[in-house]
């Protein structure tokens, strides 16, 4: 089985965010990591490989530093990967990124499954996997929490609101977006980390993977600006050291809110 996993690098959401000129994040203040949901996708791919044999490829679009996240997936057990490293892709919208990832997937050829995370923690778009499926001309299923494979046929649980799942039958090739909790992503082992350093990572420009939709021109949406949310309601922040604050809080819950 040939499985591609799309892995995105995102900021650690506990970083201190600063916005420069209402148009971008000050990246010098940010720690980066692998998108949480993508770890579950990598794990799902590795489990399929363990069961059915084959190869797991990682594709990622982003600047040079995202090689770190690709190598992390290698250390977990993925075989090799393609990094589309092209500022013109990074400057594009989800459609451009999906086009670049699709291009990379096409160069691999005869892929049975493409796995993505359900959403990127930074842009929270939840569109990339569906776009890739459409470009590939294959079916997709989003928010997958369970997967049974039998030859080319799959039984897939798609998560729904309020603790329900829809059970779906579909066939490969297909694109699945993987939801958190589907498995327990493994930690890279020391030998895994050593091996990862030597695994093949092809670095390509958009044009080299046949992707022509790039930059603002290739995008179907435009970015206007970013800002910190202004809430019309903010919590009453209770000041003081933990002991004093806790005592004040308990007092307020008893006597002001009257909920204790």
């Amino acid at each position: 089985m040939k499985i591609v996993v799309c892995v995105k690098e995102v900021p650690d959401m506990e970083s201190k965010f600063k916005i420069i000129g209402d148009s971008k994040i000050d990246e010098s203040q940010i720690a980066f990591k692998m998108n949480d949901f993508d770890q579950y996708a990598v794990e799902a791919a590795l489990q399929l490989k363990e069961k059915f044999g084959g190869e797991v490829m990682i594709v990622s679009a982003g600047p040079e530093r995202v090689a770190k996240e690709v190598r992390q997936a290698f250390a977990m057990g993925a075989d090799w990967g393609i990094q589309v490293q092209d500022p013109e892709v990074d400057a594009g919208d989800s459609f451009v990124v999906a086009s670049a990832l699709f291009g990379a997937i096409k160069t691999i050829g005869d892929v049975d499954l493409v796995l993505t995370g359900v959403q990127a923690e930074d842009d929270q778009a939840a569109v990339t996997g569906v776009m890739i499926a459409d470009m590939m001309g294959v079916p997709h299923c989003t928010n997958v929490v369970k997967l049974d494979v039998d030859g080319k046929n799959m039984k897939v649980n798609r998560e729904l609101e309020g603790g329900k799942n829809e059970v779906i039958e579909m066939a490969m090739p297909a694109v699945l977006s993987i939801q958190s909790g589907m498995n327990q992503p493994r930690y890279p082992t020391l030998p895994g980390i050593m091996k990862a350093k030597k695994k093949r990572l092809d670095v390509k420009k958009a044009a080299e993977v046949g992707c022509t939709a790039v930059g603002a021109a290739g995008s179907k949406t435009s970015f206007v600006k970013m800002f910190f949310p202004v809430s019309d309601h903010k919590a009453e922040i209770i000041q003081g050291d933990p002991k004093a604050a806790a005592a004040t809080l308990v007092n307020k819950l008893k006597n002001e809110a009257k909920v204790l």
């Binding site: 569906v130 079916p139 929490v145 609101e161 059970v167 970015f223 206007v224 919590a235 009453e236």
Partner: protein, 317 residues
Amino acid sequence: MARILVIAEHRNGALSEGTLELCKAAKAIASAAGAQPAAALLSKDGSLAAELAKYVPEVFTVSDGNLENYTADAYTQAVKAVVDAQDVKGVVIAHSYDGVDFAAKVAMALGCGIVSNCNKIEAQGGNITFTRNTYNGKIQEQKTVKTDKFVATFEKGAFDKEEAGGAGSVTAVSASISASRTKVKEVVETMAGSVDISQATIIVSGGRGTKDKDKYNDVIVNLAKKLGGEYAASRPVVDSGWTDAARQVGQSGKTVTPKLYIAAGISGAIQHVAGMKGSQCIVAINKDPEAPIFNIATYGIVGDLFEVIPAMMEAIG
């Protein structure tokens, strides 16, 4: 006149609440864009059309056996059929599980831009600007669409529900819908559990900030017991197996409305907040002063939950 077209969401013979919110959103977009709100009902037999027509001036139905269950393939064909047959400027879809499954496919089929997960719109000279959450709700961004048409998905709760009132027209759009490549077999319940936290009047809820199973038990479970309430959790806590799925609060878990909801080590992602924002009094304990949970809390303490919660236990006595 061009239309802003809501794709109605329905299961088990009822429109979702989100659909009524979308009707409100479509009305707002339409008045800003010089268009008119409308809705599409994609189903086996169009039986909810009259109900839907109470909320928008025009309903278009696509009825086909292949639309009996929601599937991305069939829905995309049906939306495309309505857009091809009518003058549609924008398609408005819920950012729900089904919506996320087909919205981007519709955008691809129409060759237009999509702005997903929006919570607000603004119009500047007929140009529509969409506002959306990014970075786990810490930052918002605004986007516009470059193409003639657009697809937008909206967060649950972003708009109030449209009031029933009118009696819009219902027009059938003929289309032949081919069978989906995904086949729906059944819907199963996955969170059945021994506890029902939705009945609790006090809930102490722990997030990823509680660090591990032992610490979660130590602080969250113990404080809940001390207050005579129930303990609950955000999704990562359940994903990691620190507590049962039946105790998960949020979009994919339980909806709770206790008198008191204490959220400790929870950032306040929209999917979590969706399940607890109706609580009477919300306390947030988080070491990050910028955590979005403080935007919906009644009281907040910025600090280390492992110091604050033991101190609360002491203060309760």
